[in-house]
């Protein structure tokens, strides 16, 4: 075991008197799919926000490949290889899918306003290279048919897929997904699960995701972290977590029902 790809070390996050996260620690090994589960208000999205840099924890540290990024702004973290999607889709709704993805390439843009503005020589070469990278992602996520459609006109499930596409366009080392399958039908969920696995395996991305669909969680996660009221109450393989009595108790308050829910 080398240095974990991502490490959350003793993180505590408070909003005034409310403690959203209390001394949460866990490590994400490179190449794994790590899922965060827990009841509503457990602090899952707060944790993701702390990792991506939207929130600054009062205590504790966040390390990306061993490097302390606790003090860095979100865009600095992006440059180091962190990308995310949001629970409520955060795309440019008035722009086309293609333009949204090209914006995702921004951190990889080397030409400045002058070189890029004069569409000749290096500026042109770079533009072509970015378009190629974006087209590969379009192919990967099978969204060729909506390439030139305006995002706001697309169905919800497709918008979710476009948001994943934009995160992939950043070519991150760690992909943070906030409920990528929420509100989808069974078929869309299946597709999305396949894309997440493919991104993880084919594109060698470490995935940290929040997800409620237990079937998906148990199927595709290599490890599961369980939060309850800001506390980490479980951490292990899906099988271990499923058997953990603390998790069963906290998750639905009642053992049998909890087991039933997790068996789904």
């Amino acid at each position: 075991m080398g240095v974990p790809q991502l490490e959350v070390r003793n993180v505590t996050l408070r909003f005034g008197g409310v403690t959203a996260l209390k001394d949460v620690s866990f490590a994400v090994e490179s190449g794994s799919i790590h899922t965060i589960i827990g009841p509503n208000g457990a602090g899952k999205t707060s944790l993701l926000n702390a990792i991506s840099g939207l929130y600054r924890p009062q205590q504790g540290r966040i390390l990306l490949a061993g490097e302390d990024i606790t003090g860095l702004s979100p865009h600095a973290r992006t440059r180091l290889g962190l990308a995310r999607t949001f629970q409520n889709i955060a795309l440019f709704k008035g722009m086309t899918v293609l333009d949204n993805l090209l914006i995702g390439r921004h951190t990889h843009q080397r030409c400045g306003i002058w070189k890029g503005g004069i569409y000749y020589g290096p500026g042109r070469q770079e533009e072509v290279a970015h378009r190629l990278a974006v087209e590969e992602i379009i192919d990967f996520l099978e969204i060729q048919h909506i390439r030139k459609k305006v995002v706001g006109t697309l169905a919800y499930g497709l918008q979710k897929r476009v948001e994943l596409a934009r995160a992939l366009a950043l070519e991150p080392k760690v992909l943070l997904l906030d409920e990528p399958m929420a509100g989808m039908n069974a078929e869309e969920k299946e597709d999305m699960a396949r894309f997440v696995i493919d991104a993880n395996e084919d594109r060698a991305m470490t995935v940290v995701m929040i997800e409620h669909d237990m079937g998906v969680v148990m199927d595709i996660s290599s490890r599961v972290v369980v939060l309850n009221f800001g506390l980490k109450i479980g951490d292990g393989t899906p099988q271990e977590v499923k058997r953990d009595p603390h998790v069963q108790k906290a998750y639905l308050g009642q053992e049998d029902a909890a087991v039933a829910a997790l068996e789904l």
Partner: protein, 638 residues
């Protein structure tokens, strides 16, 4: 050219002649990537030698399944170059259909496009003892697959290159050993009853068809063609392989099935061949968009279309078009038709045809009004796809045209359409009894009832076994009625029942797109197909449509009652064949209760049904169907 009597020989000759010119294009990563004739030839050569390296013998069969991609045709020509035959499988076939065709055809290699198709074959591999290798072209998602029979397309090509270096003359010799009477393809036709049958077509069959058809419907080497219908279908084999190789035009493969319409627009093909549903879709897409457009644009549409229709009608009647109409058409073309055709990708179209089923006169008129010279063709897989076609100056809606050169037509005493030509197949694979029956007396028995008009056009009525007798003793055809009903844009599928029954009834499937749009416009909320098809307003709408069809029919042939089905008929439920023909017996059995209600006094039918998805999951549908009765109207009789 005499000795270019097989596909591989034609490919070798064309590659020598047109080397650096574009043979194929595939849209990949958003760009049309061209393959030259030289590259096309090299891929086929390498793959073919690769098959030999894997142990292929002359006469072996290679099954191919996947979307339309260059690898599909490389595999087909590669198999033929090694002295074998190719067997196309419809890419949306389910496990059992795939396994049946692979096993029945004795294929030893299966070329599968991607993970989805490989999964189907590996799931059934225990029942396919004859299969030696499964060759896949898209490695996506298959990194954990370790099955010993699996090998990638590029690996086979690499094996071929190695073999070719050791034996430089092997390819030339292998191609030269091919004969015109070798079986080129085995085309499995998913009949409306029983198991599919494998029609064996030789190079001679296919190439004479290509030459004969070209005499009456000219294709040129500079033409562009978009290949988007299943390559397992004879129609696509005719165009992309037989005629494509014979003439050397460019074949374009779309990016994904979902992008076909856009890809057609980008290519602007000169030639197009598609079944009626494609033309109907284009037509209804235009109607729907016109409903949605601005007032000014709608006005232009409403002004120009009558001009187009008027001229189309004059041409159909073979009346000379007066000068003022010609001028009016120029104007309408400039205002509307040109832009519309550009939108549809039909700007360059010169040769376009529809076949496989009847196309409504309204749709026909629509395309001719725009100046798109749509023609009907008729044929069977067993006659290499085509026996009759309209000629440019002689188009009649109700006919399928005249026989192509070299084809003889006759009508048997039972009213069956018979044909004879060098393109008639050599038989069904491993089914001599049916072959003898089909080719009895030296004629190909089509199984279709029809007649010839005075000017030599063929009119197709229906499948002979479906033609039924009404109380008055007159023959009547459910398919004829179904086509009339389907000519309504709101009707997607129709099944007419009445054999040995007191009166005629129909089960209709609404067209979700068009009816959905209509509902939206009329502020009618709905959730699913089932919900929409159960709305009283929708019943009213369809009631009018059926009534209108009834007015054109003799009283005895009118539909008395109808229901709207709660789901679309689906090939996955075995209700349709893969070419979307209704499997009548199966459907009548499945909807037994609905049919019983149509012949009782019931006004409603409660439904509690399970529907099955492609992956084996099921869902339960509970709903109530209305039974609508049409009043016998005295108007318009006869």
């Amino acid at each position: 050219m005499k000795d270019l009597d097989t596909f591989p020989k034609l490919l070798v000759a064309t590659a020598a002649r047109l080397g650096p010119r574009t043979a194929l294009r595939e849209k990949d990563l958003g760009i049309w990537q061209a393959t030259t004739w030289r590259q096309y030839h090299d891929h086929v050569r390498d793959f073919s030698l690769g098959l030999l390296a894997l142990g292929m013998q002359r006469g072996d069969k290679v099954a191919i399944i996947g979307d339309n991609r260059p690898e599909w045709v490389y595999a087909e020509l590669g198999a033929q170059g090694a002295g074998g035959s190719s067997v196309g499988i419809y890419q949306d076939s389910n496990l059992n259909e795939v396994a049946y065709v692979i096993d029945h055809s004795d294929a030893i290699f299966v070329v599968a496009e991607d993970q989805e198709q490989v999964d189907k074959i590996l799931d059934m591999i225990d029942k396919l003892p004859k299969v030696k290798n499964v060759i896949y072209s898209d490695p996506r998602g298959m990194r954990h697959y370790r099955h010993p029979a699996l090998i990638s397309f590029t690996a086979v090509e690499e094996m071929g290159r190695t073999l070719g270096r050791g034996q430089p003359h092997l390819w030339t010799e292998s191609v030269a050993a091919g004969r015109a009477d070798d079986v080129a393809i085995i085309c499995y036709t998913s009949g409306t009853t029983g198991f599919p049958k494998g029609a064996m077509l030789t190079f001679r069959n296919l190439l004479t068809m290509a030459a004969s058809l070209n005499q009456v419907d000219v294709k040129l080497p500079d033409d562009e063609f978009v290949s988007f219908l299943p390559l397992a279908w004879i129609g696509e084999q005719m165009m992309s392989l037989a005629i494509g190789l014979a003439l050397g035009f460019t074949v374009n493969f779309p990016e994904e099935p979902a992008t076909v319409m856009e890809d057609i627009r980008e290519i602007g093909p000169d030639i197009m061949f598609a079944p009626p549903r494609i033309w109907e879709n284009i037509n209804s897409m235009v109607q729907v968009k016109i409903m949605d457009t601005s007032r000014a644009k709608r006005l232009v549409y409403e002004l120009c279309m009558p001009v187009g229709y008027a001229i189309a009608d004059l041409r159909f009647k073979k009346t000379p078009v007066p000068l003022r109409w010609r001028i009016a058409w120029r104007l309408a073309d400039w205002l509307l038709f040109r832009a519309l055709k550009d939108r549809l990708g039909l700007s360059n179209i010169r040769s376009c045809s529809t076949g496989g089923a009847a196309l409504g006169p309204d749709v026909f008129r629509f395309f001719h009004a725009l100046g798109v010279p749509l023609k009907q063709i008729y044929g069977q897989t067993e006659i290499s796809g085509i026996s009759c076609i309209h000629t440019d100056d002689d188009i009649q809606f109700h006919t399928v045209g005249r026989p192509i050169p070299g084809t003889e037509l006759a009508i048997s005493e039972q009213g069956e359409i018979l044909s004879r030509s060098p393109s008639v197949f050599v038989g069904y694979y491993k089914d001599e009894a049916v072959t003898r029956e089909t080719l009895a007396g030296g004629w190909l028995h089509s199984g279709d009832a029809g007649y010839l008009t005075e000017d030599g056009h063929l009119v197709v009525i229906d499948r002979i076994k479906d033609v039924m007798h009404l109380a008055g003793g007159a023959q009547f055809s459910p398919q004829y009625l179904e086509n009339r009903l389907k000519f309504s844009p709101y009707v997607k599928e129709a099944v007419v029942i009445g054999k040995d029954r007191p009166y005629l009834t129909a089960m209709l499937c609404i067209d979700m797109g068009v009816v959905g749009k209509w509902a939206e416009k009329n502020k009618l909320g709905y959730t699913t197909y089932t919900d929409l098809s159960a709305k009283t307003e929708v019943y009213e709408l369809l009631h009018q449509e059926v009534d209108r069809v009834n007015q054109t029919l003799p009283p005895a042939a009118r539909i008395k009652k109808f229901v709207l089905l709660y789901k679309e008929l689906d090939a996955d439920d075995e209700e349709l064949t893969r070419t979307r023909k209704v499997r009548r017996a199966f459907v009548e059995e499945r909807y037994r209760e609905v049919i019983a209600a149509l012949y009782s006094a019931a006004r409603r039918v409660p439904i509690d049904a399970l529907i099955r998805f492609q992956d084996g999951k099921t869902a339960r549908i509970q709903t109530t169907l209305q039974v609508r009765e049409l009043e016998a109207s005295p108007a318009g009789a006869g």
